[in-house]
Amino acid sequence: MLNVQEIQEIIKLIDQSSIEEFTYETNGTTVSLKKSSQKNPVSVQDNQIQPTTKVENVQQSDVKANIKNEPVENEVTSEQSQAVAYDHEIVSPMVGTFYTAPSPEKDAFVSKGSKVDESTVVCIVEAMKLFNEIEAEVSGEIVEILVENGELVEYGQPLFRVNTK
């Protein structure tokens, strides 16, 4: 287990680097650091039984909560999100690679402005060669795609913003 000094040291190093996200894991303890626009939320969790993916989800929602609670510190973020009205986020149910289309030469499942319903497939997330077709689970309009094709995504990471009205 890392001590507080070590964690501080890591934060400092990452702060000075261009690394956006950092996860360190040892003996069932996970430390995850993620840069938002202006701050580095830190979370340390002991997890003996639960798989990391689950913990990362908890951590991610912590990050989100931070941003929402401190609008002043994150002006840029909140301005951006105000530009598009949304009331639902489609999040990734697992760690993996995000694909916008069923294969490279095919059209994307959806694009900005696409109308979706509960069973519309919006993307594929692949991990260990399992291809998970993600359905929208709500009806509405895709107002923002938050991830690039081929990008790695975490458990619980928002992928799309949907306006259900």
Partner: protein, 330 residues
């Protein structure tokens, strides 16, 4: 449109009592007599027994072992897997049929088997050559009660069941290339697995696991660029194998492995997987969107992820990515 080959088989099948002349076949099929002769040679290789009598013609005297729903189920020693079998002589892809079946019916344990796939699918819709009667082409529908984030482990589980089947039946020593390709020490691949899932955030609707295993192909069955990378059980063992027995054996082994996983989790699967693991302890190259890096393949994590150790000793988990296993691009 019906292929010339299928028309030829039909014509021969209508004339099992008498000979049908090469001239007549040539007229009916509108192809040359030497083309007919080539087709006959091909049919023989695929298990048809054809008698050719000079100046009289051809006669079919034996058909290859045929897979049907009944023959698969007859002697199948499983408890729940393959209790419903959907057999297609030809289909575009068993995956597509399985998806339809899964959407229309409940179908846990339903198995879709094809003799031939027109558009066999691999990763990202890469084609898989699946000629009639030359391999095991099947898809299984499962509805596991698992959280979706654990479902990727099913791909490693399937690879273990397939490697067990191959090694038990043929005495060869298959290897598993992470996460789920089957190859041999000569680095040639004989099987691929494609797993597709429909899931909500916290519940799996269904999983379709597609398995393609090359059984009785010869090298000349494939285009040149594939010959370098592909092999079949027949090429490895110098003998042909009954597709039906392999299917039955695989389904049986898969069911046992799956039931064990549901009961005891991934621990046992991990042990077995690592015993088959290709290139554990060796250098591999990993390509991500941002970078290319070399690292040692250190084994798999408790959840099935690929563990890599870089030069400075740092260990990382990898769930996805393009990996160069053969250092071809380096």
């Amino acid at each position: 449109m019906e292929s010339t080959r299928n028309k030829l088989i039909k014509l021969l099948a209508e004339h099992t009592e008498d000979y049908i002349s090469g001239q007549m076949l040539s007229e009916k099929l509108n192809i040359s007599r030497s083309a007919i002769w080539k087709h006959m040679k091909e049919l023989e290789r695929d298990g048809y027994q054809i008698e050719a009598k000079s100046k009289v013609g051809y006669r079919i005297i034996g058909f290859p072992e045929r897979i049907t729903e009944n023959t698969i189920q007859w002697g199948l020693k499983t408890k729940w897997l393959g209790k419903k079998v959907i057999h297609r002589e030809v289909t575009n892809s068993t995956q597509v049929v399985a998806h339809q079946e899964a959407k229309e019916n409940k179908g846990h344990g339903t198995v879709v088997i094809a003799d031939e796939q027109k558009i066999g699918r691999g990763r990202m819709s890469r084609a898989w050559h699946s000629k009639r009667g030359s391999g095991m082409w099947l898809s299984m529908i499962l509805r596991p009660e698992l959280p979706p984030y654990l479902a990727p482990q099913l791909t490693l589980l399937t690879a273990v069941a397939l490697a067990d089947t191959i090694s038990d039946m043929t005495g060869t020593e298959p290897l598993i290339k992470w996460p789920n390709d089957i190859l041999f020490a000569n680095q040639k691949k004989c099987a691929g697995i494609l797993t597709e899932m429909q899931a909500e955030q916290d519940k799996i609707q269904y999983v379709v696991i597609g398995v393609g295993l090359n059984v009785n192909q010869q090298l000349s069955d494939w285009p040149e660029e594939i010959q370098e990378r592909a092999t079949s059980l027949q090429i490895e063992t110098n003998q042909s194998w009954s597709i039906q027995s392999i299917i039955q054996e695989f389904l049986c082994t898969f069911e046992k492995t799956y039931d064990m996983y549901m009961k005891k989790g991934f621990v046992e699967i991990k042990k077995k997987w690592e015993a088959y693991g290709f290139k554990i302890g060796e250098w591999i190259t990993i390509y991500t969107l941002q970078e290319k890096k070399k690292a040692i393949f250190a084994g798999i994590a408790s959840d099935g992820a690929l563990l890599i150790r870089n030069e400075s000793g740092k260990v990382e988990r990898l769930y996805s990515g393009e990996i160069d296993w053969f250092n071809k691009k380096a």
